[in-house]
Symmetry: C2
Subunit: 250 residues, 2 copies
DNA sequence: GTATCATTGCGTCATATCGACACAATAGTA
DNA sequence: TACTATTGTGTCGATATGACGCAATGATAC
């Protein structure tokens, strides 16, 4: 991202950017990956631009590879943000003044249409890495995200809404949980995304009815109470469910 | 769309275009609005570009106003098409050679990222109007759409898929049917979109349970059989349902 | 070692919803 | 006037859903 001068205009498609809402799950909390901008110290979503020969999907993968070290991430575009005034009070431009000589301010002064993606990643495997414009990249609990740069708060909210909708007709979890997990852990994930409690027994019945889980012999020890069984996703059926869709809402 | 030379570069954002899948309903058929290109005689979706001060939504409305004469159309973006090779064998470029002097071929030779919209309109109110690049704009039944220009067939299919999904959690019909309609007409619309028959009685029960219809006193006469009641949408509740979402699938 | 207690596995029950179908009423047509 | 295709309304069994009971378990406290 900090290549030689003139590189932006040459390398990237003008007017176009992308922003990623990266969800992770840890300690019973839904977290989002955020960057702290150097100058303004505002928090922002990880984002980037599209190279001349890239699709948006490839560009988003590249950006996330840079920010998390992870490849093969669950990624989905969910909306184009094209309000002509979305960057009116753009503090990022101020933040970039020092780079005028380096990268050329003009690039950042143009109008950007941004494609919003959301991503689901395994919290424990990601290695947050900041970019040239930020001094920190870290997970933040959803509730503590606060006000973000530009319209990024709006992008984040839309992503969450889309994720909640997706829950109604697609399985979720493979990308957010470790390989083996317990039913309570999976339930906690659903509750966290939906923001409401679910009945333990009904949850298990419904989840098992999807037929996307393999129940393992082993149980999870170490907890302070009765040891729950471990499960893993049945990838074959999981993929089929992703394709064909589930039924019933939450 | 056929302004003076150089106008494209000046007026529109480079690299960006939009394509609209406009659905109408007539004679128990789902129809799509298509344009026939002048030179290649290929069929294409109505589309356009984004002016410097427009959002994509405004641009799409403008394009549809030009193609149908209608304002205030139900419009929804559903996907960004950004494959770098989506226009590789672009016949539209050949089709535009004659306009080289007029509009500047360079504009059309650049790579385009296109945002796909789908629209629902009242068939009887639309007045299909072709643009500068086409000699015909008309409705075509979905099954007879055939191969379209570039990746427009793919865009069409994705739009249809999205529409079918929308049916599961949003009411549909206000934008596609005349003000007053019968239950069998509404059912036919659903069957057509879904591509499968539905039980008459179960359909009515479910539809009424949504509480988005007003049953009128009047019945529709002229048919060869028992006169069905007329209905209209309860706009208040219809809008609420659009917002809040419905439940259960089809 | 034993009692305690939060948690888990598995099940029940009443209710709502869904899919399939029955039957009478009706409006034009033969 | 009989006929026929269509509409309005209702029923029935299967299935899904929401609310809850109870015994088993495994670490912790005593």
């Amino acid at each position: 991202m900090s290549q030689n001068p003139q590189s932006y205009q040459d390398q990237y498609l003008s007017h176009l950017s992308l922003d990623c809402v990266v969800f992770g799950f840890h300690g019973s909390q839904l977290k989002v990956l955020l960057l702290r901008m150097k100058k303004t110290r505002e928090w922002a979503l990880p984002g980037g631009f599209v190279k001349n020969d890239e699709s948006f999907e490839v560009a988003a993968s590249r950006v996330l590879k840079e920010r998390t070290g992870l490849g093969d991430i669950f990624l989905k575009q969910f909306k184009v943000f094209s309000d002509p005034h979305r960057a009116d009070k753009n503090p990022a431009v101020r933040d970039l003044e020092e780079k005028k000589a380096d990268a050329g301010l003009e690039w950042f002064e143009q109008r950007f249409i941004s494609v919003g993606f959301y991503a689901l990643v395994d919290f424990s495997l990601a290695e947050p890495t900041h970019d040239f414009f930020s001094d920190l990249c870290t997970w933040k609990p959803l509730e503590e995200a606060g006000d973000l740069m530009l319209d990024h708060s709006q992008i984040l909210n839309q992503a969450l809404e889309t994720l909640r909708l997706q829950l109604n007709y697609q399985p979720i979890g493979y990308n957010l949980l470790p390989e083996r997990f317990t039913m309570p852990e999976l339930q906690k994930l659903y509750e966290t995304i939906l923001g409401k409690p679910l009945d333990r027994r009904n949850f298990q019945r419904k989840m098992l009815s999807y037929d996307i889980l393999n129940k393992l012999e082993e149980r999870k020890t170490g907890g302070a109470h009765k040891a729950p069984y471990l499960y893993e996703f049945n990838l074959d059926n999981y993929r089929k469910a992703l394709q064909g869709g589930l039924y019933g809402g939450w």
